[in-house]
């Protein structure tokens, strides 16, 4: 199948549209890039109008004829030469494609226009819509391996992560050897990542992706590409975890070098925290300053709105201020938002108002990684309403031949299919005895995130069985790992026993499995207890002379790990990080009452930190609930079987499982405390149940139904 990726073409829209129409139905296996790549040569930047990379015809650079009937054969020849040289050099920079002193794949070049044209020069290959496939047929095929290398060279994401030196690996099948093989795999962009990184519609664009699907890299690539293609644009790349700041700077810098061999102009491409501080300007603080409105800091926000709602509160204030002004000051030509699930709705409306027409706001998120107090609204609500009271962005429907406005990244590179299915099962409560705790608004999203319907139907009220699609994860997971070893769970009678077991396993990982300290991550879902548990773990590990650290203040996600010491972290600091072996300590946190959605999301996030193996540990009755769900996942051979909730059932699920605010929890606790003496009197027989007023008894019976959750 030919994937068409529509970048930013400024030259000849008619030619672009004709090329899409002419090639769309062709029996070609590969990619047609439009307005991509942009290649820096010694003295200029060359934007390739179209680049076709297919097994059938190899690498073909396509130059669009100028709309004004072109300047004759000489100009066409010059442009073809520029395109050829730029692509040739780009590929030549990629060693695996070089054979001795030249490329192992030929580069072809042709010119294309919306109408057939003959320049009267046999050396110049020109084509129109009717002749393009015939002309392409003259170019020889390349092998699948060569195509893979060509795409790696064009995308240049292979060098994103420096590979860990593993001189300690001696055994062929140790865990160390396995993770070494996983790290060596070439990471080409998949078709969805390509679209998300390169396509930029004239309006908002949503990118949804699973944990480990490459959202952060895609956004950094997109920022670098848009900046290179439009150096005059003011672009903001924003995020919520401060720990991501350095990572974004590094990625954007590297990708800009790939495109233009130069440092980005940081005054035009700005990596900004969503809020900001006097140290790091943020989108919020910049917008407030530009609109001459108050900039609120954390101390102020916490005192007025509480720590949980601090940012939401100040964004609401700022938005109200902006709306009360006749005209707001748009600051950016494009705003790219990562971790959108952690940001309040008003922030998106602020971004919309702060974006210049045509309002290029790109937001990427994974709903299940939401650890905060906000939930993602659909675009019709997210960007507010216009003066007529209509949604500013009613939908994200696709318009044929234009860049996609709604992209889902379904391939998960970080997690094994078994870990991901397990994480989804506990995240949604698929096998929870009392039913689901949350669900997607649109059931079809399951298929978009890489599941296939094995039986039943993904429609409200129907039973369905889902399984990860074979193309939704890299094949090496299946080749190298076994499901029962990749995901395992362990219930303990005593907390101490759990910690001792984890310490013993880590000892084995380090002494027998050839893993390094930096391959291991201990995640503690309960942030409040994190210090205490980490202290006990430090002691337990010390029995094996294993050093450990509890991650503290750091300006970079990359600094979570330290050589010679095992990292322990609360769930928040774990976000954005991954490790070959993950131990989740105190997983019962997810099943404790009154914390259902947030607790489940925390466990989902913890499990999805694992690159190869995850050990889900816990104790107590709540852990038994989690274990029973995990066992169901395995019993069902990593399938998800459940009845799709009807809209009414979904509304009920949301009502029951919405997370309570601190004030609500306090009110509940007081009420429970007040009723305790009455319960004690009834239990002891001091007050016989018969003595309760009839009306009171009736009300209780109605409320409790059959004595179970009203689910």
């Amino acid at each position: 199948m030919l994937q068409i990726v529509i970048g930013r073409n400024k030259r000849n829209m008619l030619a672009q549209s004709a090329l899409i129409t002419a090639t769309k139905g062709a029996d070609l296996d590969g990619t047609l890039y439009l307005g991509y790549p942009i290649i820096a040569t010694a003295d200029q930047m060359v934007t390739i109008d179209a680049l076709l990379t297919t097994k059938e015809h190899g690498v073909v650079a396509i130059d669009f004829l100028s709309p004004d009937a072109n300047g004759g054969p000489n100009e066409v020849r010059d442009r073809q030469d520029d395109a050829y040289n730029a692509v040739f050099r780009k590929l030549l920079d990629y060693k695996p494609l070089v054979n001795k002193r030249t490329l192992s794949v030929p580069v072809q070049v042709l010119s294309f226009g919306p109408e057939e044209i003959d320049l009267g020069d046999a050396e110049l290959i020109c084509a129109g819509p009717n002749s393009i496939l015939r002309k392409l047929a003259e170019f020889p095929p390349i092998s699948e391996d060569q195509l893979r290398l060509v795409n790696a060279a064009i995308q240049r994401v292979t060098t994103i992560k420096p590979s860990t030196k593993r001189t300690n690996v001696e055994k062929a099948n140790s865990r160390g050897a396995i993770i070494q093989k996983i790290e060596k795999e070439i990471a080409n962009l998949d078709q969805w990542q390509k679209s998300a990184a390169i396509e930029c519609p004239d309006g908002p664009q949503r990118i949804r992706g699973l944990a480990g699907s490459g959202k952060t890299i895609v956004l950094a690539l997109k920022a670098a590409y848009l900046h290179t293609a439009n150096p005059e644009w003011d672009i903001a790349l924003t995020f919520h975890s401060r720990a991501l700041y350095q990572q974004f700077l590094d990625l954007v810098r590297r990708f800009c070098f790939e495109h233009k061999n130069d440092e980005p102009d940081w005054s035009k491409l700005r990596v900004l925290h969503s809020w900001g501080s006097s140290r790091y300007p943020g989108v919020y603080s910049e917008v407030a300053a530009a609109n001459d409105l108050s900039i609120r800091d954390f101390a102020y926000a916490k005192s007025i709105y509480g720590a949980d709602q601090a940012f939401g509160g100040v964004c609401d204030e700022l938005l109200a201020g902006m709306k009360s002004k006749r005209q707001t000051e748009p600051l950016f030509d494009a705003i790219l938002i990562d971790e959108a699930q952690d940001l309040p709705n008003s922030f998106f409306e602020i971004c919309y108002l702060s974006a210049r027409d045509p309002k290029r706001v790109v937001w990427a998120y994974d709903e299940l990684q939401n650890l905060g107090s906000y939930s993602m609204a659909p675009p019709s609500e997210l960007f507010g309403k216009n003066e007529r009271g209509e949604p500013r962005v009613p939908n994200l429907d696709e318009v044929e031949g234009t860049p996609k406005r709604d992209i889902v990244l379904p391939v998960c590179y970080r997690n094994t299919p078994w870990a991901l299915t397990t994480a989804h099962a506990v995240g949604f409560g698929i096998y929870r005895q009392k039913g689901l705790v949350q669900f997607f608004d649109d059931p079809a999203l399951w298929q978009e995130i890489g599941y296939r319907v094995e039986s039943g139907e993904l429609s409200p009220g129907c039973d369905v069985t889902l399984r990860r699609r074979e193309n939704s994860y890299p094949s090496y997971f299946v080749d190298l790992l076994r499901p029962e070893d990749s995901v395992s769970w362990h219930n303990f009678e005593e907390y101490r026993e759990q910690l001792d077991w984890v310490a013993e396993q880590i000892h084995r990982n380090l002494s027998e499995d050839e893993l390094k300290h930096t391959d291991i991550l201990i995640v503690i879902p309960d942030a409040i207890q994190a210090k205490n548990i980490a202290g006990q773990l430090t002691s337990a590990l010390d029995k094996y002379q294993i050093q450990a650290h509890l991650a503290g203040v750091t300006s970079s996600v990359d600094r979570l790990y330290q050589d010679g010491s095992v990292a322990m972290t609360s769930i928040y600091r774990a976000k954005g990080n991954e490790a070959a072996m993950v131990y989740v300590v105190g997983s019962e946190y997810a099943a404790e009452p009154f914390r259902s959605v947030r607790g489940r999301n925390v466990l989902f996030t913890a499990i999805t930190r694992s690159r190869a193996w995850v050990r889900i540990c816990g104790c107590g009755p709540a852990m038994k609930e989690i274990i029973s769900e995990l066992e169901s996942v395995r019993k069902n051979d990593y399938r998800l079987r459940f009845p799709v909730p009807t809209p009414e059932a979904l509304a009920n699920i949301r009502k029951i499982h919405r997370d309570m605010s601190a004030a609500e929890i306090a009110k509940r606790d007081t009420a429970l405390k007040n009723v305790e003496p009455l319960l004690a009197m009834l239990e002891s027989g001091e007050l016989p149940t018969e003595a309760l007023p009839d009306d009171f008894k009736k009300r209780l019976q109605v409320l409790l139904g059959n004595g179970d959750d009203a689910e």
Partner: protein, 241 residues
């Protein structure tokens, strides 16, 4: 004390500090070679190249470098640091460095005792930006409604106890403490043990936690102060009381 006993002792200390809630982040001490010695120190010390020499003693930038660069063994819940390191030769301690680095800012309220992440965020955004605000040439952001640094700044000197067994010929005392200036070498009667140092910090600055080390065995080093230093005002204590 051997090298592995020392590592274990620091792990035990960190465990106690975390469990009591006094520490919010910890680093182990790890061994690495320094000339003919093995140094046991926090992991980042290995890559510190010039970090210590580049900073002025007790400066805000020094504190900031230590916090953001993870140059500590324990980060306490109000921002103070404990730095612990030892030098070994043939499995014997020949030098140590114990530093208590108080946080230069005092938070307006202690509203984050249970929320590790909120505390971290506060430290990173508020505290560090407050420190930056003191830099020459800094101007407050327009319309910012920050409480300002006036009420938060505390002029507290770090206290660094150094012991170096191999500089007996030098003018400075073998065991000394730096207070208020890198050039001040206030004599100490002997090398401090880790237990003595932590007891000193806890009982004077965190009295609510002074019981933390009751399970740690008492540990004293031999008296090493020279007569000319003993004649000066110095730190001393008696082990027989």
């Amino acid at each position: 004390m051997t090298l592995s006993e020392t590592r274990s002792l620091v792990a035990k200390l960190n465990a106690q500090l975390l469990q009591s809630g006094l520490a919010i982040a910890t680093n182990p001490i790890i061994p690495f070679k320094i000339r003919d010695r093995v140094r046991l120190s926090w992991p980042e010390a290995r890559n510190a190249h010039g970090v210590f020499a580049d900073q002025h003693f007790a400066s805000l930038s020094e504190y900031r470098t230590f916090v953001t660069g993870k140059h500590y063994t324990s980060l306490l819940n109000e921002g103070s640091l404990l730095q612990i390191s030892f030098d070994f030769k043939r499995n014997e301690i020949v030098a140590n460095r114990f530093c208590f680095y108080p946080c230069p800012l005092e938070f307006p309220e202690n509203g984050y005792p249970h929320d590790f992440e909120a505390w971290n965020d506060l430290l990173e955004t508020e505290l560090l930006s407050q420190i930056d605000a003191l830099a020459p040439g800094w101007t407050p952001p327009e319309r910012a409604e920050s409480p300002g640094t006036g009420g938060l700044l505390r002029l507290r000197s770090p206290m660094r106890f150094d012991f170096e067994s191999e500089n007996r010929a030098a003018a400075e005392p073998t065991s000394h403490v730096h207070i208020n200036g890198a050039g001040a070498h206030i004599p100490v009667h002997a090398a401090l043990s880790l237990r003595q140092f932590i007891d000193f910090v806890l009982s004077n600055y965190y009295p609510a936690h002074s019981h933390l080390l009751t399970e740690f065995a008492p540990d004293f080093c031999d008296r090493s102060i020279r007569p000319e230093h003993e004649a000066q005002l110095h730190f001393d204590c008696r082990r027989d009381l």
